[in-house]
């Protein structure tokens, strides 16, 4: 059966889920961190570190799921380090984020050197497209369990931030540290916990890269997803469920170049690959304004000041 241009659409939709999943985890992690009033630009490093850890642990233990867990723990450690450093007076969270990005990627490259060649067990996918006899469609509907987990986390995180005492505490700390201190809330501890948990999610996002798609460990594995997460969260208006839709959009945009290539449009391959970055920049230009604060922004956030 000839699918032609429909194939492009199907590939973009499949790519939205396949490429969007790491975006989803990183942006959820960034969203939680930013809700507590800190920005973590170091999630790019966390992602790479998570990818390396997940791959190495899966290779040694034979269990990809253990790899995912350890990737999360590695991310949590980096997140905790970031927020611990930031809790000192005069230490700038954006600058520490840049340093953590370089430190995380450097550490991952150092420790990951032996894992570039061998092949680790892959995370299983759930086949939702078995009913279709169009190979492109059934391939697009091979959905990884981590994506479903990400959807659940997005909904749960949104609900918890809105309806639980824990969520309220995070939001108070993010809106006004002074008010939180007046209420007797431990501001630094809540921020450290939120950033560490955010790092955990970003680490899982990294393990998806190495254990499912593109399914290898190499030094060029991540290409700024951790960074774009910051802009995704702005676009999602600091809502976890919003992060889900935005991640799918970005995944689809990133899949456009390769899908067009499959129907013979090869010119501008690199330009198509740059679409997510251009979109991110465009979103920031459109949504930011010097005259007003963004709707939904946590007021302690330095990024919008």
């Amino acid at each position: 059966m000839e699918v032609g241009w429909w194939g492009v659409l199907i590939a973009v939709l499949g790519g939205a889920i396949r490429i969007g999943t790491p975006f989803l985890f990183v942006s959820l992690g960034e969203c939680l961190t930013e809700k507590s009033g800190r920005i973590n630009l170091g999630l790019e490093g966390t992602l790479v570190m998570g990818a390396m850890t997940g791959y190495a642990v899966a290779l040694h233990s034979g269990s990809p799921w253990l790899g995912v867990l350890c990737a999360g723990l590695a991310g949590m450690t980096l997140g905790a380090l970031h927020s611990w450093l930031c809790s000192f007076r005069r230490v700038n969270d954006i600058a520490v984020g840049i340093a953590m990005m370089l430190f995380g990627t450097g550490l991952a490259f150092f420790l990951g050197k032996p894992y570039i060649q061998p092949s680790a067990p892959r995370l299983p996918s759930i086949d939702l497209g078995g009913w279709s006899d169009v190979p492109q469609l059934s391939a697009a509907l091979q959905i990884n369990a981590l994506f479903l987990l990400g959807v659940i986390v997005a909904i749960a995180l949104g609900w918890m931030l809105k309806h639980t005492a824990w969520g309220l505490k995070v939001r108070v700390v993010g809106e006004s540290a002074d008010a939180a201190r007046a209420l007797g809330l431990p501001v630094d501890r809540i921020r450290i916990m939120s950033t560490a948990l955010g790092g955990f999610l970003a680490g899982i996002g990294g393990s998806y890269l190495s254990l499912y798609y593109p399914f290898n460990w190499s030094e060029g594995l991540s290409s700024g997803q951790g960074l774009m997460a910051v802009a995704l969260v702005i676009f999602a208006r600091w809502k976890p469920v919003g992060c889900l839709w935005v991640s799918l959009l970005w995944g689809g945009a990133a899949a456009l170049g390769p899908s067009l290539q499959s129907v013979g449009i090869t010119g501008g391959y690199y330009i198509f690959n740059a679409i997510p970055y251009i979109m991110t920049l465009a979103v920031m230009i459109i949504t930011c304004s010097p005259r007003r604060n963004l709707a939904g922004v946590p007021h302690e956030l330095t990024v919008t000041r």
Partner: protein, 350 residues
């Protein structure tokens, strides 16, 4: 102790102390990786500063770092954290090469001048985009400048694989060669190209601009307090744009030197992480253009030692990245120490 002495001594002591702490931490790290830290440091010293050959290796790497450090340091005076040096290098190198290829029959001097101007203009525009978006749209300049790095690399890859591709560059898509006659020569009596001189001169000029002109003074005021600067009638937007242009021009010049002195053509080797290492240099130097020179030499030395570390101690090439990361984190942490050692004036003493 007089207050002025304190002010000069404090940063020096804190930076030296931070570097020492970083060395201890990194030593512990390589020890955990199974290498003897003392021997590792000995190797690094030998590879970076031990012989005249290693000095040349170090200085060749230090030259672009001086220029890319300015990309972060100069906007730092205005309170901006711009990390777009990588993009400025890539755009500078790309457009310098394109400029050279459009005038194939001109004399080498004309070609090099045109390349330098084109590279600096491209870098200036690229970095100024981030500054302009910050001022006019309140877009966070750190994120926008980093995104622009990725966009610059995509543009480079696109142009060297399409419009400007030399059909003979099969495995490594590149532009045509700018011509051997047009390459920047070496400093007489050395194996060093003129890029090092460009770097040092750019740092000195930047220092003069920021510390000894009204323009630099205005920038420092705007960096300290935007509201106060606006009330004083300073054109904050124009200051941001000009400073970002000067900073970007430095990065663009670094890209031009990479093309005109080393590769002879523009290709993805321009994307050699000099931009990111430059951020670290700027932070360690606390944005001071004069301090950038020795810090760039130090970091150039660390990067130059990577190869020997691999051969002698079988440490992966990412070892120097880990060291850079550790230094970076410790330096940022040390920010919290400022003001804790200087004596406060006693209450009521005034």
């Amino acid at each position: 102790m007089p207050h002025t002495l304190n002010k000069a001594l404090e940063p020096f002591l804190i930076i030296v102390g931070s570097l020492s702490v970083s060395m201890v931490l990194f030593g512990a790290f390589v020890a955990a990786a199974g290498a003897n830290p003392f021997e590792v440091y000995q190797t690094m010293y030998r590879a970076a500063f031990g012989t005249s050959f290693s000095w040349q290796n170090t200085l060749i790497r230090a030259a672009p770092l001086m220029l890319t450090a300015l990309c972060t340091a100069l906007p730092g005076y205005l309170g901006l954290i711009i990390i777009g040096g990588e993009g400025a290098v890539v755009m500078g190198g790309l457009f310098a090469a394109i400029a050279a290829l459009t005038i194939p029959d001109a004399s080498p001097m004309v070609v090099l001048t045109t390349m330098a101007l084109a590279g600096m203009a491209a870098g200036a525009i690229w970095l100024a985009i981030g500054g302009a978006l910050r001022h006019y749209r309140a877009v966070n300049e750190t994120i926008s400048s980093l995104l622009l790095n990725y966009i610059a690399i995509a543009l480079l890859n696109h142009l060297v694989t399409s419009t400007f591709r030399d059909p003979e560059s099969l495995n490594h898509p590149s532009t045509h060669h700018i011509g051997e006659a047009n390459m920047i020569g070496l400093i007489p009596g050395t194996d060093l190209h003129w890029g090092l001189v460009f770097g040092i001169v750019a740092c000195i000029l930047s220092w003069f601009l920021m510390h000894h002109t009204v323009f630099g003074f205005s920038s420092q005021i705007a960096g300290g307090n935007v509201r106060a600067a606006q009330i004083a009638g300073l054109p904050v937007g124009r200051l941001i744009l000009i400073v970002c242009c000067v900073a970007g021009a430095a990065g663009g010049l670094a890209g031009m030197v990479e093309v005109a002195a080393i590769h002879g053509r523009a290709n993805d080797t321009l994307n050699a992480n000099y931009g990111y290492a430059g951020i670290l240099v700027a932070f360690v130097a606390r944005n001071n253009p004069l301090a950038i020179i020795p810090v760039a030499v130090l970091l150039g030395g660390i990067r130059a030692s990577s190869g020997l570390l691999q051969r002698v101690h079988e440490l992966p090439d990412a070892t120097v990245l880990v060291m850079q990361g550790i230094i970076f984190l410790v330096i940022l942490f040390s920010e919290t120490l400022y003001g804790r050692f200087s004596r406060m004036p006693k209450q009521g003493a005034v």
